[in-house]
């Protein structure tokens, strides 16, 4: 019987290796798999390349991973925020490499990896500093920049509900990068709010089919976890 549920996030992340490329879903806090990131910090893998829209906020989640010195390089569209101090400090110290990617190009490069596309021409960033050194081409009167897929070893994502085949649904704008990251990584690990029986998810409503998912961990909402841990 297929069962992609793992008992603990520790078990689901045990094999993340130093030097791995790790995609992390979320747009700011919405859809950020905070518990998986905490677990990754405890797990100890380092020298990571991280793909996320941002570079962490305040002291939790991705910011904490960066603050712990585990990230060698980050690909994102919007690192600088009022509360991105962990990133800012390491970046200014030259200890963290940044590949700045326009948000739509970031999304499309992730999507391309999952869909087996070797490269694509996008109009975004043509004529700007972010296209410097890149191959360009005029196609049907519009100018384009050639961009390549971003593949990952792991994707750490957050979903709302999952069944044991790994079918996922999301909640509102917490969906954001998760479905495309799930398809772009060799091993996609999901934290979900709720586990459901096979058949409880309407097949018309499944956003990420289980084929893209390797491991699922059900995490109780913060309050419950705290109570359990106590």
């Amino acid at each position: 019987m297929i069962n992609k549920f793992f008992a603990t996030p520790e078990a689901a992340l045990a094999d993340v290796h130093d030097g791995a490329t790790v995609m992390i879903s979320g747009f700011g806090g919405a859809g950020m798999p905070a518990e998986l990131i905490d677990c990754l910090i405890a797990q100890g893998a380092t020298d990571l390349t991280v793909v996320n829209n941002n570079a962490g906020n305040a002291d939790a989640g991705l910011a904490a991973l960066i603050g712990a010195g585990r990230v060698r390089k980050i690909l994102c569209s919007f690192p600088r925020q009022t509360d991105s101090w962990h990133f800012d400090k390491l970046y200014r110290a030259g200890k963290l490499e940044l590949e700045l990617v326009p948000q739509g190009t970031l999304a499309e490069r992730i999507r391309a990896a999952g869909a087996g596309i070797g490269g694509f021409f996008t109009p975004t960033a043509f004529g700007t500093r972010l296209a410097e050194g890149k191959e360009t081409r005029r196609i049907d009167g519009r100018d384009y920049v050639l961009e390549y897929p971003i593949h990952a070893d792991y994707a750490l994502i957050k979903a709302d509900r999952a069944d044991r085949w790994g079918n996922l649904t999301y909640r509102k704008t917490a969906r954001n990068f998760a479905p495309i990251m799930a398809a772009a990584a060799k091993c996609t690990v999901v934290q979900v709010r709720e586990s459901v029986e096979l058949g409880e998810l309407d097949p018309e409503m499944v956003v990420t089919p289980g084929i893209f998912v390797k491991r699922v961990v059900r995490l109780a909402p913060a309050g419950k976890t705290a109570r359990k841990a106590a």
Binding site: D88, G104, P179
Partner: protein, 216 residues
Amino acid sequence: MKKFDRKQMAARVAQDIPEGAYVNLGIGLPTLVADYLPKGREIILHSENGVLGIGPRPPQGEEDEDLINAGKEPVTLLTGGAYFHHADSFGMIRGRHLDFCVLGAFQVSAAGDLANWHTGEPDAIPAVGGAMDLAVGAKQVLVMMEHLTKDGKSKLVERCTYPLTGARCVNRVYTDLAVIDIKPDGLHLVEIVAEGLSFDELQRLNGVPLRYRAAA
């Protein structure tokens, strides 16, 4: 002269958005436009993070951390709205499905070049977000900005000195002084909005020659 304040600027932009339009409002000043869309005009707001049909900010205490806009502020969803993932959201933008986007700017050139993501300072930490996608993607790119810098220089310039967000992409600029169209032959004044501002004075403040043909 009495310049438009931010609210008046937002209201002036809102006035030009027609019924049925699909619109993305950039972070910051452009977000204000939402508050001034004429009542009874159905306009559908898009946000980069995967949503069409953004409604007003929820009452305090009813925020949902899973329902935010591109500025990461809590929003609501209108009846008829829909969610989708990031690649689909930017496919919409890049594929020219949005009728309008409204963006802030540091500078706009007479050719329609837009600079709004980077001050050019060598030690600045760059951040671009979805601005470059919106600049090349929306059918009409509207810019909303104060006309002059703090030290009185025009932000409408012959050539941008800040790094570009997009080349030849801006269609219309709304400032606290005027509304100006950018056309292949240069800048065309649509209207002066600052009270007591003459065309000659606007022309003097504006870095670049303005054309103006009074309505017949």
